[in-house]
């Protein structure tokens, strides 16, 4: 008896569920207007530095697209793209990572015909030029990995095609940061990083693939070795470079190494370190704390990097359209101006220029003395009127790029040697 009863209820419950499913189904089919009123959500994978809340707010206001930031570290961006390609809708990755990302097949080529400003992207990316002059292309220069042979191809194309790997978001030229008040003399070369004068007061960043490039700039400026390609060393070159680092470490040259933005700011602001590899916003941060700090241009040139938007192969339909809309919006000026005002560079310069005050453009991009006080996007004072940007104009800075962040063929070996350097 009890059995029968239980059976009856089970059937009824299942019927109810079926009914509910049917009702929901009808509701979905019958109410497309309701669905389309829902804003499209794009999960934006990238590093926290590039994920400003202002950009998300502006996109929401302009396009109605909701940007959901997934902030992770640079290394985790590639890890996510390779291991969990369905966990994001748009990725903000660095060009040097492409040599790992593209062969995995998880990113697809972006259709240049759907990118409104594709042909106005600065030639830094497309041809490796600034103002008509070739710039350094050692390492993974963006022009080497900018195009794919086909939409789903895993091979880079040396000549322009319709399929773009990443649409540039930000890029910059990195150099050494110094404390002029503690050094008290001009600094003009990468070799100063290992100068015994700064024993116990220098630092290098502990991210193997980037740290080794800075080290290579130093080795070359000390005339210890001339690299064929600093971004793709041979095993012997890796040995030589790490040996120079190990010798310096053993003699007590380094105060500490840093791994993230804030660590570098702390080292510099506290005076523990007076010369170190640094990122541009970190210099700004130190300066905004009232501590003098210069992003020192050096005669050997800069180590450059660039990041851009990539699309996962899993993206389709409405989300894919929204991703293209978002990218087109990103290149259309407002975001570019926003990034330029932080000392980065944007992909399409003329659209950004239209959104900036002439004095802002003159200071940030033309290397002219600031006519008025320069303010950050949030309104805080960055520079007083009269100051000139470290390194000068866009052409002077990007034109002096010597090499680009890279993944080497001997990456495994390099990582092992770097670990030995840390353990030495």
């Amino acid at each position: 008896m009890a059995d029968t009863k239980r059976k009856t209820t089970a059937v009824t419950r299942r019927d109810v569920l079926k009914g509910a499913a049917a009702v929901t189904g009808t509701a979905i089919l019958g109410a497309p207007a309701f669905i389309s009123a829902q804003p499209v959500i794009l999960r934006y994978l990238g590093t926290a530095v590039n994920q400003s809340k202002e950009i998300a707010q502006k996109v929401k206001a302009d396009l109605g697209i909701v940007i959901e930031y997934v902030p992770v570290t640079t290394d985790d961006v590639s890890k996510r793209i390779i291991t969990q390609p369905a966990s994001f809708d748009i990725a903000d990755a660095e060009y040097f990572q492409l040599r790992k990302l593209i062969p995995s097949g998880n990113l697809i080529g972006m259709d240049a015909s759907r990118i409104k400003y594709a042909d106005r992207i600065t030639p830094v990316f497309t041809r490796g030029e600034v103002a008509g002059k070739k710039i350094g292309d050692q390492g993974t220069a963006p022009k080497k990995v900018f195009y794919l042979e086909g939409k789903s191809s895993t091979k880079f194309s040396a000549t322009p095609t319709r399929w773009i790997t990443l649409i540039p978001t930000v890029y910059n030229a990195d150099t050494l940061g110094i404390r002029p008040d503690l050094i008290k003399r001009p600094i003009g070369s990468w070799s100063e990083l290992l100068n015994a004068e700064f024993k116990g007061k220098s630092s290098i960043l502990n991210i193997p693939s980037i740290g080794i490039m800075d080290a290579a700039m130093v080795v070359e400026s000390l005339s210890l070795h001339k690299y064929q390609d600093k971004g793709n060393m041979t095993k012997a070159e890796i040995d030589l470079t790490t040996k120079a680092l190990i010798d310096a470490k053993k003699s007590g040259q380094f105060r500490a190494f840093w791994k993230d933005f804030n660590e570098s700011v702390n080292l510099m602001a506290s005076g523990e370190v007076v010369i170190q590899s640094m990122w541009s916003p970190a210099v700004t941060k130190v300066r905004s704390m009232g501590v003098p700090c210069i992003y020192q241009p050096l005669k050997e040139g800069y180590r450059a990097w660039a990041a851009g938007f990539g699309l996962p192969k899993t993206l389709s339909g409405k989300k894919l359209d929204a991703a293209y809309d978002f990218i087109n919006w990103f290149l259309s000026g407002w975001a570019g101006a926003f990034l330029n005002r932080q000392g980065y560079y944007s992909a399409v310069l003329d659209t950004a220029k239209a959104q900036m005050e002439p004095y802002e453009w003159a200071y940030w991009m033309e290397g002219k003395p600031a006519e008025k006080d320069i303010k950050a996007p949030d309104g805080t004072l960055l520079e007083k009127a009269g100051t000139v940007r470290d390194g000068g104009s866009f052409e002077a800075r990007m034109g002096a790029v010597a090499c680009w962040n890279a993944v080497m063929d001997e990456n495994d070996y390099m990582v092992r040697k770097w670990n030995e350097f840390i353990a030495a």
Binding site: K79, A256, V415, N419
Partner: protein, 327 residues
């Protein structure tokens, strides 16, 4: 009633066995299983099952996966199933060839071991003293509780913030150096205070003494006070009573605390990284770097070696005291 029923079914099973041996055997086996599963002896197994399953799924399975992956091949963007020892060869590369100078792995383990010994000895000394004070000198339970809470104050902020806070204290222009210079004890700021072995050990002691205090206090609070009186009556001095009565009876707490501290120091890379100014190697850091370069199998092999090393240390410690017996 139940027993009668079961007896019957057994007899039936026996009867069919004569007729159809194969199926009867199966029925009999099923019967035996049913009995085993429902009998009272099985009850503890059922009770332990949920936790066992959770452990199997979240602990044993990942461990097995880690061991399996450590034998796989990898390249920059993918890992492929295989059964190769390359990763282990890579972990120990140069360890024999470069003798007598140490290879990366040996050097790193030696450095980690040094921190283990230092952190262990200091946390034990401090932890034991604090626990002794709390257990034997603080009489009221409320006071004990209050003092315990005081011990947890360092844990009220995040680990990283706690470590970064050392910079203004120990740095070149920090409070300690400021004091030393104004007191005339030194002319140049002392740099060994920060980003050095000293600062790493200091941070470990600061972070992990609590993990010594708690288990040792727990052991001590269960010591029968009459034993101490007996020791005194028998003419033992304070130190003799401490050494011959309190220490042996606190051994389980000491061993548990030691296991905590040693395993945490062995696997740590954040403290060593921040306090050592990223200049000191640790196994955890090596693994983290390999993970960030997507060298999962190599990182797994390193993790397996680390696990083996930690297990050996723990085995040695538990050899000294049978923790299970003492609890």
């Amino acid at each position: 009633m139940e027993r009668v029923h079961r007896g019957l079914s057994d007899r039936e099973a026996g009867r069919t066995a004569v007729l159809e041996p194969a199926s009867a055997l199966a029925t009999a086996r099923a019967g035996v299983w049913r009995r085993r599963l429902t009998s009272r002896a099985a009850a503890p197994y059922w009770q332990a099952a949920p936790l066992a399953l959770v452990f199997a799924f979240f602990f044993v399975l990942p461990l097995v996966v880690m061991v399996v992956v450590s034998f796989w091949r990898y390249n920059e963007y993918s890992i492929t199933p295989a059964l190769v020892g390359d990763n282990y060869v890579s972990v120990f590369s140069g360890c024999v060839a470069e003798l007598p100078s140490l290879c990366l792995t040996f050097k790193t383990y030696l450095s980690t071991l040094k921190f283990c010994v230092l952190a262990w000895a200091l946390t034990l000394l401090l932890g034991f003293t604090v626990a002794y004070f709390l257990a034997f000198h603080v009489r009221s339970l409320t006071a004990q509780m209050a003092l315990f809470l005081v011990c947890t104050i360092p844990f009220w902020t995040s680990n990283v913030i706690r470590m970064i806070s050392w910079v203004p204290l120990l740095g070149r222009n920090g409070l300690v150096n400021g004091f030393l210079i104004t007191a005339g004890m030194t002319r140049e700021p002392q740099t060994w205070l920060l980003f050095s072995d000293f600062s790493v050990v200091l941070a470990f002691v600061h972070l992990y003494t609590m993990f010594m205090i708690v288990p040792i206090f727990n052991s001590m609070s269960r010591i029968d006070r009459a034993l101490l009186e007996a020791a005194r009556d028998a003419g033992a001095s304070g130190w003799q009573a401490l050494w011959n009565v309190v220490v042996p009876l606190s051994k389980p707490g000491i061993v548990i605390g030691s296991i905590f501290v040693v395993t945490m120091v062995m696997g740590d890379y954040v403290t060593i990284g921040v306090m050592g100014g990223q200049q000191i190697a640790s196994i955890g850091k090596v693994i983290q770097v390999q993970l960030s370069y997507l060298q999962f199998p190599l990182a797994a092999a390193n993790a397996v070696v680390l696990l083996a090393a930690v297990l050996m240390v723990i085995a040695a410690m538990t050899r000294l005291v049978d923790v299970r017996k003492e609890l």
